[in-house]
Protein backbone atom coordinates (compact mmCIF):
# COMPACT_ATOMS: atom_id res chain seq x y z
CA UNK A 1 0.00 0.00 0.00
CA UNK A 2 1.53 3.29 -1.06
CA UNK A 3 1.46 6.26 1.27
CA UNK A 4 -1.10 8.00 -0.97
CA UNK A 5 -3.44 5.05 -0.76
CA UNK A 6 -2.95 5.02 2.99
CA UNK A 7 -3.85 8.71 3.15
CA UNK A 8 -6.89 8.26 0.90
CA UNK A 9 -8.20 5.53 3.16
CA UNK A 10 -7.31 6.78 6.64
CA UNK A 11 -6.91 10.57 6.44
CA UNK A 12 -10.66 11.21 6.93
CA UNK A 13 -10.56 9.15 10.15
CA UNK A 14 -7.44 10.93 11.37
CA UNK A 15 -9.04 14.27 10.52
CA UNK A 16 -12.13 13.46 12.59
CA UNK A 17 -9.79 12.57 15.46
CA UNK A 18 -8.00 15.88 14.95
CA UNK A 19 -11.35 17.68 15.26
CA UNK A 20 -11.84 16.03 18.66
CA UNK A 21 -8.30 17.09 19.63
CA UNK A 22 -9.16 20.68 18.69
CA UNK A 23 -12.41 20.46 20.68
CA UNK A 24 -10.63 19.16 23.78
CA UNK A 25 -7.97 21.81 23.37
CA UNK A 26 -10.37 24.74 23.07
CA UNK A 27 -12.49 23.65 26.06
CA UNK A 28 -9.42 22.92 28.19
CA UNK A 29 -7.81 26.25 27.24
CA UNK A 30 -10.92 28.18 28.26
CA UNK A 31 -11.12 26.31 31.58
CA UNK A 32 -7.40 26.76 32.21
CA UNK A 33 -7.62 30.48 31.42
CA UNK A 34 -10.49 31.00 33.89
CA UNK A 35 -8.64 29.02 36.59
CA UNK A 36 -5.36 30.87 35.90
CA UNK A 37 -6.92 34.28 36.37
CA UNK A 38 -8.91 33.30 39.46
CA UNK A 39 -6.07 31.50 41.23
CA UNK A 40 -3.39 33.92 40.02
CA UNK A 41 -5.31 36.76 41.69
CA UNK A 42 -6.02 34.66 44.80
CA UNK A 43 -2.32 33.91 45.07
CA UNK A 44 -1.64 37.66 45.23
CA UNK A 45 -4.21 38.26 47.93
CA UNK A 46 -2.93 39.27 51.36
CA UNK A 47 -5.84 37.40 52.90
CA UNK A 48 -4.80 33.88 53.94
CA UNK A 49 -8.26 32.48 53.22
CA UNK A 50 -7.61 33.18 49.53
CA UNK A 51 -3.86 32.79 49.30
CA UNK A 52 -3.62 29.50 51.20
CA UNK A 53 -5.98 27.39 49.06
CA UNK A 54 -4.53 28.91 45.88
CA UNK A 55 -0.98 27.96 46.93
CA UNK A 56 -1.99 24.42 47.85
CA UNK A 57 -3.88 23.98 44.58
CA UNK A 58 -1.03 25.32 42.44
CA UNK A 59 1.70 23.30 44.16
CA UNK A 60 -0.41 20.15 44.10
CA UNK A 61 -1.22 20.24 40.41
CA UNK A 62 2.27 21.35 39.39
CA UNK A 63 3.89 18.75 41.61
CA UNK A 64 2.07 15.70 40.28
CA UNK A 65 1.85 14.28 36.82
CA UNK A 66 -0.90 15.12 34.32
CA UNK A 67 -1.44 11.44 33.49
CA UNK A 68 -1.87 10.61 37.19
CA UNK A 69 -4.42 13.41 37.54
CA UNK A 70 -6.24 12.22 34.43
CA UNK A 71 -6.42 8.61 35.63
CA UNK A 72 -7.49 9.73 39.06
CA UNK A 73 -10.36 11.79 37.67
CA UNK A 74 -11.43 9.09 35.23
CA UNK A 75 -10.92 5.91 37.28
CA UNK A 76 -11.07 6.95 40.94
CA UNK A 77 -13.79 9.62 40.99
CA UNK A 78 -16.44 7.08 39.80
CA UNK A 79 -15.63 5.03 42.93
CA UNK A 80 -16.74 8.07 44.90
CA UNK A 81 -19.93 8.34 42.93
CA UNK A 82 -18.86 10.87 40.28
CA UNK A 83 -18.70 9.36 36.81
CA UNK A 84 -17.49 11.61 34.02
CA UNK A 85 -17.24 10.94 30.29
CA UNK A 86 -13.75 10.66 28.79
CA UNK A 87 -14.17 14.06 27.13
CA UNK A 88 -15.20 15.82 30.34
CA UNK A 89 -12.50 14.05 32.38
CA UNK A 90 -9.89 15.06 29.83
CA UNK A 91 -10.98 18.69 29.72
CA UNK A 92 -11.15 18.82 33.51
CA UNK A 93 -7.69 17.28 34.05
CA UNK A 94 -6.06 19.45 31.38
CA UNK A 95 -7.83 22.58 32.62
CA UNK A 96 -6.87 21.98 36.26
CA UNK A 97 -3.28 21.06 35.42
CA UNK A 98 -2.58 23.91 33.00
CA UNK A 99 -4.60 26.31 35.13
CA UNK A 100 -2.06 25.78 37.90
CA UNK A 101 0.83 26.69 35.59
CA UNK A 102 -1.16 29.58 34.14
CA UNK A 103 -1.93 30.98 37.60
CA UNK A 104 1.81 31.37 38.22
CA UNK A 105 2.15 33.24 34.92
CA UNK A 106 -0.73 35.56 35.85
CA UNK A 107 0.81 36.19 39.27
CA UNK A 108 4.20 36.96 37.73
CA UNK A 109 2.62 39.22 35.12
CA UNK A 110 0.75 41.32 37.66
CA UNK A 111 3.76 41.51 39.97
CA UNK A 112 5.95 42.72 37.13
CA UNK A 113 3.88 45.86 36.57
CA UNK A 114 5.99 48.62 38.18
CA UNK A 115 4.83 49.85 41.59
CA UNK A 116 4.71 53.38 40.29
CA UNK A 117 1.76 52.43 38.09
CA UNK A 118 -0.25 51.38 41.15
CA UNK A 119 0.76 54.50 43.03
CA UNK A 120 -0.08 56.79 40.12
CA UNK A 121 -3.45 55.07 39.67
CA UNK A 122 -4.20 55.57 43.35
CA UNK A 123 -3.04 59.18 43.17
CA UNK A 124 -5.60 59.71 40.38
CA UNK A 125 -8.23 58.46 42.84
CA UNK A 126 -9.19 55.39 40.80
CA UNK A 127 -10.99 52.62 42.66
CA UNK A 128 -9.21 49.27 43.07
CA UNK A 129 -11.29 47.64 40.33
CA UNK A 130 -10.65 50.61 38.02
CA UNK A 131 -6.92 50.41 38.76
CA UNK A 132 -6.94 46.73 37.83
CA UNK A 133 -9.16 47.06 34.79
CA UNK A 134 -7.76 50.09 33.06
CA UNK A 135 -4.17 50.39 34.35
CA UNK A 136 -2.71 47.10 35.54
CA UNK A 137 -4.37 44.35 33.45
CA UNK A 138 -3.72 45.95 30.03
CA UNK A 139 -0.03 46.23 30.91
CA UNK A 140 0.23 42.59 31.92
CA UNK A 141 -0.84 41.32 28.48
CA UNK A 142 2.47 41.88 26.65
CA UNK A 143 4.36 40.35 29.61
CA UNK A 144 2.06 37.38 30.04
CA UNK A 145 1.40 36.44 26.42
CA UNK A 146 4.79 34.91 25.44
CA UNK A 147 4.78 32.36 28.30
CA UNK A 148 1.05 31.82 27.74
CA UNK A 149 1.81 30.98 24.11
CA UNK A 150 4.34 28.35 25.21
CA UNK A 151 1.86 26.91 27.66
CA UNK A 152 -0.89 26.74 25.02
CA UNK A 153 1.35 24.75 22.69
CA UNK A 154 2.16 22.44 25.60
CA UNK A 155 -1.57 22.06 26.20
CA UNK A 156 -2.20 21.11 22.58
CA UNK A 157 0.48 18.42 22.90
CA UNK A 158 -0.89 17.23 26.23
CA UNK A 159 -4.35 16.63 24.74
CA UNK A 160 -2.88 13.41 23.26
CA UNK A 161 -3.12 11.91 26.76
CA UNK A 162 -6.93 11.86 26.62
CA UNK A 163 -6.57 8.95 24.17
CA UNK A 164 -5.46 6.88 27.17
CA UNK A 165 -8.87 7.26 28.79
CA UNK A 166 -10.48 6.38 25.42
CA UNK A 167 -11.57 9.82 24.23
CA UNK A 168 -11.57 9.46 20.44
CA UNK A 169 -8.96 12.09 19.60
CA UNK A 170 -6.19 12.06 16.99
CA UNK A 171 -3.91 9.86 19.09
CA UNK A 172 -6.74 7.41 19.79
CA UNK A 173 -7.61 7.10 16.10
CA UNK A 174 -3.93 6.62 15.26
CA UNK A 175 -3.67 3.82 17.83
CA UNK A 176 -6.77 2.16 16.37
CA UNK A 177 -5.46 2.34 12.81
CA UNK A 178 -2.09 1.03 13.97
CA UNK A 179 -3.74 -1.91 15.72
CA UNK A 180 -5.61 -2.99 12.59
CA UNK A 181 -3.05 -2.24 9.86
CA UNK A 182 0.36 -2.32 11.61
CA UNK A 183 1.44 0.47 9.28
CA UNK A 184 3.05 2.19 12.24
CA UNK A 185 5.36 4.56 10.38
CA UNK A 186 2.55 5.87 8.18
CA UNK A 187 0.01 6.06 10.99
CA UNK A 188 2.03 7.72 13.74
CA UNK A 189 4.07 9.67 11.22
CA UNK A 190 0.89 11.22 9.81
CA UNK A 191 -0.43 11.88 13.30
CA UNK A 192 2.83 13.67 14.19
CA UNK A 193 2.56 15.75 11.02
CA UNK A 194 -1.03 16.73 11.83
CA UNK A 195 -0.01 17.80 15.34
CA UNK A 196 2.89 19.75 13.86
CA UNK A 197 0.63 21.51 11.35
CA UNK A 198 -1.87 22.40 14.08
CA UNK A 199 0.87 23.87 16.26
CA UNK A 200 3.15 25.54 13.71
CA UNK A 201 0.70 26.71 11.05
CA UNK A 202 -2.39 27.49 13.11
CA UNK A 203 -1.75 27.93 16.81
CA UNK A 204 1.66 29.61 16.97
CA UNK A 205 0.95 32.28 14.30
CA UNK A 206 -2.35 33.06 16.02
CA UNK A 207 -0.61 33.50 19.39
CA UNK A 208 2.13 35.66 17.82
CA UNK A 209 -0.60 37.83 16.31
CA UNK A 210 -2.13 38.23 19.79
CA UNK A 211 1.28 39.23 21.17
CA UNK A 212 1.73 41.89 18.49
CA UNK A 213 -1.80 43.12 19.06
CA UNK A 214 -1.30 43.42 22.81
CA UNK A 215 2.03 45.20 22.43
CA UNK A 216 0.52 47.67 19.98
CA UNK A 217 -2.48 48.37 22.23
CA UNK A 218 -0.25 49.22 25.17
CA UNK A 219 2.07 51.28 22.98
CA UNK A 220 -0.89 53.36 21.83
CA UNK A 221 -2.47 53.73 25.26
Amino acid sequence: MSYWEFLAEYLPKLASGALMTIGVMICATLLAAAISILFGLMRLSRNWAFQGPATVYIEFFRGTSLLVQLYWIYYVLPLMGLTLTPFVSGVLALGLNFGAYGAEIVRGGIQSVPRGQWEAARALNLSVSQQMRSIIIPQTFPIVLPPVANLTVELLKATALVALISAVDLMFVAKQINATTWLSAQTFGTALLIYYVMARIALIPFLRWLEVLAARKVGKA
Binding site: G63, L67, V68, Y75, V76, G81, S184, Y195, I204
Partner: protein, 224 residues
Amino acid sequence: MMEWRWDFTFEILPRMLWATGNTLLAAGVGYLIAVVVGLVLMLGQRTPSRIINVLVREAVEFIRSTPLLVQLFFVFFVAPQFGIKLSAWNSAMLTIGLHFGTYLSEVYRGALEGVPKGQWEACRALNFSTAYTYRRVVLPQAFPIALPGMGNYLVGIFKETPLLATIGVAELMHTANALGAETYRYLEPYTMVGFIFLIISLPTAMGLRRLEAAVSRAQGNTHL
Protein backbone atom coordinates in the same frame (compact mmCIF):
# COMPACT_ATOMS: atom_id res chain seq x y z
CA MET B 1 -18.63 4.67 47.62
CA MET B 2 -15.27 3.06 48.21
CA GLU B 3 -13.43 3.22 51.53
CA TRP B 4 -9.70 3.78 51.77
CA ARG B 5 -8.06 0.60 53.08
CA TRP B 6 -4.82 1.08 54.99
CA ASP B 7 -4.03 -2.66 55.17
CA PHE B 8 -4.17 -2.80 51.38
CA THR B 9 -2.05 0.36 51.19
CA PHE B 10 0.72 -1.23 53.26
CA GLU B 11 0.40 -4.48 51.36
CA ILE B 12 1.14 -2.83 48.02
CA LEU B 13 3.64 -0.31 49.39
CA PRO B 14 6.77 -2.45 48.76
CA ARG B 15 5.85 -2.96 45.10
CA MET B 16 5.04 0.72 44.70
CA LEU B 17 8.38 1.72 46.21
CA TRP B 18 10.24 -0.73 43.98
CA ALA B 19 8.48 0.82 40.96
CA THR B 20 9.38 4.29 42.26
CA GLY B 21 13.01 3.21 41.94
CA ASN B 22 12.40 2.38 38.26
CA THR B 23 10.68 5.72 37.74
CA LEU B 24 13.63 7.57 39.24
CA LEU B 25 16.05 5.53 37.15
CA ALA B 26 14.09 6.27 33.97
CA ALA B 27 13.98 9.98 34.80
CA GLY B 28 17.70 10.08 35.66
CA VAL B 29 18.92 8.19 32.60
CA GLY B 30 16.49 10.06 30.34
CA TYR B 31 17.76 13.36 31.74
CA LEU B 32 21.42 12.49 31.21
CA ILE B 33 20.70 11.57 27.58
CA ALA B 34 18.68 14.76 27.12
CA VAL B 35 21.51 16.90 28.56
CA VAL B 36 23.93 15.49 25.96
CA VAL B 37 21.43 15.51 23.06
CA GLY B 38 20.58 19.11 23.92
CA LEU B 39 24.24 20.06 23.65
CA VAL B 40 24.53 18.38 20.24
CA LEU B 41 21.33 20.04 18.99
CA MET B 42 22.49 23.44 20.24
CA LEU B 43 25.91 23.09 18.57
CA GLY B 44 24.13 21.78 15.44
CA GLN B 45 22.50 25.21 15.11
CA ARG B 46 25.80 27.06 15.41
CA THR B 47 27.80 25.35 12.67
CA PRO B 48 29.48 27.30 9.83
CA SER B 49 27.05 25.66 7.38
CA ARG B 50 23.74 27.52 7.15
CA ILE B 51 21.97 24.50 5.64
CA ILE B 52 22.82 22.31 8.63
CA ASN B 53 21.75 25.05 11.04
CA VAL B 54 18.36 25.44 9.36
CA LEU B 55 17.78 21.67 9.16
CA VAL B 56 18.62 21.14 12.84
CA ARG B 57 16.46 24.14 13.76
CA GLU B 58 13.46 22.69 11.90
CA ALA B 59 13.98 19.24 13.42
CA VAL B 60 14.05 20.85 16.88
CA GLU B 61 10.84 22.76 16.12
CA PHE B 62 9.15 19.60 14.88
CA ILE B 63 10.03 17.56 17.95
CA ARG B 64 9.14 20.41 20.29
CA SER B 65 5.69 20.97 18.84
CA THR B 66 4.48 17.36 18.69
CA PRO B 67 3.32 15.26 21.68
CA LEU B 68 5.77 13.06 23.56
CA LEU B 69 3.15 10.30 23.73
CA VAL B 70 2.83 10.09 19.93
CA GLN B 71 6.62 10.14 19.55
CA LEU B 72 6.88 7.33 22.07
CA PHE B 73 4.49 5.18 20.05
CA PHE B 74 6.21 6.17 16.83
CA VAL B 75 9.63 5.02 18.05
CA PHE B 76 8.32 1.92 19.77
CA PHE B 77 6.25 0.64 16.83
CA VAL B 78 8.20 1.93 13.85
CA ALA B 79 11.63 0.57 14.74
CA PRO B 80 10.48 -3.10 14.45
CA GLN B 81 8.87 -2.27 11.08
CA PHE B 82 12.40 -1.61 9.80
CA GLY B 83 13.80 -4.70 11.51
CA ILE B 84 15.32 -2.88 14.49
CA LYS B 85 14.64 -4.59 17.81
CA LEU B 86 14.12 -1.88 20.39
CA SER B 87 12.90 -2.76 23.88
CA ALA B 88 10.28 -0.62 25.60
CA TRP B 89 12.98 0.76 27.91
CA ASN B 90 15.32 1.68 25.05
CA SER B 91 12.52 3.27 23.01
CA ALA B 92 11.53 5.27 26.07
CA MET B 93 15.05 6.53 26.76
CA LEU B 94 15.58 7.39 23.10
CA THR B 95 12.31 9.33 22.90
CA ILE B 96 12.74 11.16 26.20
CA GLY B 97 16.35 11.99 25.32
CA LEU B 98 15.35 13.45 21.96
CA HIS B 99 12.21 15.23 23.14
CA PHE B 100 13.73 16.93 26.15
CA GLY B 101 17.04 17.35 24.33
CA THR B 102 15.28 19.87 22.09
CA TYR B 103 14.05 21.78 25.16
CA LEU B 104 17.50 21.74 26.74
CA SER B 105 19.08 22.94 23.50
CA GLU B 106 16.87 26.03 23.80
CA VAL B 107 17.97 26.49 27.41
CA TYR B 108 21.64 26.33 26.38
CA ARG B 109 21.07 28.69 23.47
CA GLY B 110 19.35 31.22 25.72
CA ALA B 111 22.16 30.94 28.26
CA LEU B 112 24.88 31.52 25.66
CA GLU B 113 22.99 34.49 24.26
CA GLY B 114 22.65 35.78 27.82
CA VAL B 115 26.42 36.28 28.08
CA PRO B 116 27.09 39.88 27.00
CA LYS B 117 28.77 40.36 23.60
CA GLY B 118 31.44 42.50 25.27
CA GLN B 119 32.80 39.38 26.97
CA TRP B 120 33.53 37.82 23.58
CA GLU B 121 35.05 41.03 22.27
CA ALA B 122 37.25 41.40 25.33
CA CYS B 123 38.49 37.82 24.93
CA ARG B 124 39.30 38.42 21.31
CA ALA B 125 41.12 41.62 22.24
CA LEU B 126 43.15 39.61 24.76
CA ASN B 127 43.92 37.11 21.96
CA PHE B 128 42.31 34.13 23.77
CA SER B 129 41.51 31.11 21.61
CA THR B 130 37.85 30.23 21.03
CA ALA B 131 38.16 27.09 23.17
CA TYR B 132 39.77 29.03 26.00
CA THR B 133 37.11 31.74 25.73
CA TYR B 134 34.33 29.16 26.02
CA ARG B 135 35.97 27.26 28.85
CA ARG B 136 37.15 30.08 31.08
CA VAL B 137 34.91 33.03 30.26
CA VAL B 138 31.65 32.19 28.48
CA LEU B 139 30.58 28.84 29.94
CA PRO B 140 31.14 29.82 33.61
CA GLN B 141 28.86 32.80 33.01
CA ALA B 142 26.32 30.88 30.92
CA PHE B 143 25.97 28.08 33.48
CA PRO B 144 24.04 30.01 36.16
CA ILE B 145 21.72 31.34 33.43
CA ALA B 146 21.08 27.78 32.19
CA LEU B 147 20.66 26.25 35.63
CA PRO B 148 17.00 27.14 36.35
CA GLY B 149 15.90 25.82 32.95
CA MET B 150 17.97 22.67 33.36
CA GLY B 151 16.46 22.07 36.79
CA ASN B 152 12.92 22.61 35.50
CA TYR B 153 13.36 19.97 32.85
CA LEU B 154 14.78 17.46 35.36
CA VAL B 155 11.50 17.75 37.28
CA GLY B 156 9.65 17.93 33.94
CA ILE B 157 11.06 14.60 32.76
CA PHE B 158 10.26 13.04 36.12
CA LYS B 159 6.64 14.10 35.75
CA GLU B 160 6.40 12.75 32.17
CA THR B 161 7.65 9.26 33.10
CA PRO B 162 4.10 7.89 33.73
CA LEU B 163 3.68 8.01 29.94
CA LEU B 164 6.24 5.22 29.68
CA ALA B 165 3.68 2.86 31.20
CA THR B 166 1.76 3.03 27.91
CA ILE B 167 4.48 1.11 26.05
CA GLY B 168 5.08 -1.25 28.98
CA VAL B 169 8.00 0.18 30.96
CA ALA B 170 7.55 -1.16 34.49
CA GLU B 171 7.55 2.15 36.32
CA LEU B 172 5.18 3.55 38.94
CA MET B 173 2.10 4.09 36.77
CA HIS B 174 2.50 0.70 35.13
CA THR B 175 2.65 -0.96 38.53
CA ALA B 176 -0.42 0.96 39.70
CA ASN B 177 -2.31 -0.21 36.59
CA ALA B 178 -1.21 -3.79 37.20
CA LEU B 179 -2.20 -3.66 40.89
CA GLY B 180 -5.57 -2.23 39.94
CA ALA B 181 -6.16 -5.00 37.40
CA GLU B 182 -5.12 -7.70 39.89
CA THR B 183 -7.16 -6.50 42.85
CA TYR B 184 -9.91 -4.35 41.29
CA ARG B 185 -8.86 -1.60 43.68
CA TYR B 186 -7.81 1.57 41.87
CA LEU B 187 -8.32 4.10 44.65
CA GLU B 188 -5.19 3.32 46.66
CA PRO B 189 -2.70 2.64 43.81
CA TYR B 190 -3.55 5.78 41.81
CA THR B 191 -3.74 8.00 44.88
CA MET B 192 -0.39 6.67 46.09
CA VAL B 193 1.18 7.41 42.70
CA GLY B 194 -0.01 10.99 43.04
CA PHE B 195 1.43 11.38 46.51
CA ILE B 196 4.72 9.71 45.65
CA PHE B 197 5.12 12.19 42.79
CA LEU B 198 4.29 15.05 45.09
CA ILE B 199 6.74 14.07 47.84
CA ILE B 200 9.53 13.70 45.32
CA SER B 201 8.94 16.65 43.02
CA LEU B 202 8.20 19.34 45.63
CA PRO B 203 11.45 18.92 47.62
CA THR B 204 13.41 18.51 44.38
CA ALA B 205 12.02 21.76 43.02
CA MET B 206 12.84 23.49 46.31
CA GLY B 207 16.35 22.03 46.37
CA LEU B 208 16.96 23.19 42.82
CA ARG B 209 15.89 26.72 43.75
CA ARG B 210 18.43 26.68 46.61
CA LEU B 211 21.12 25.37 44.27
CA GLU B 212 20.43 28.18 41.81
CA ALA B 213 20.73 30.74 44.57
CA ALA B 214 23.98 29.16 45.80
CA VAL B 215 25.51 29.03 42.31
CA SER B 216 24.63 32.59 41.45
CA ARG B 217 26.04 33.72 44.78
CA ALA B 218 29.26 31.74 44.24
CA GLN B 219 29.58 33.15 40.74
CA GLY B 220 29.04 36.67 42.00
CA ASN B 221 31.73 36.26 44.64
CA THR B 222 34.38 34.48 42.63
CA HIS B 223 34.56 36.44 39.40
CA LEU B 224 37.89 38.20 39.03
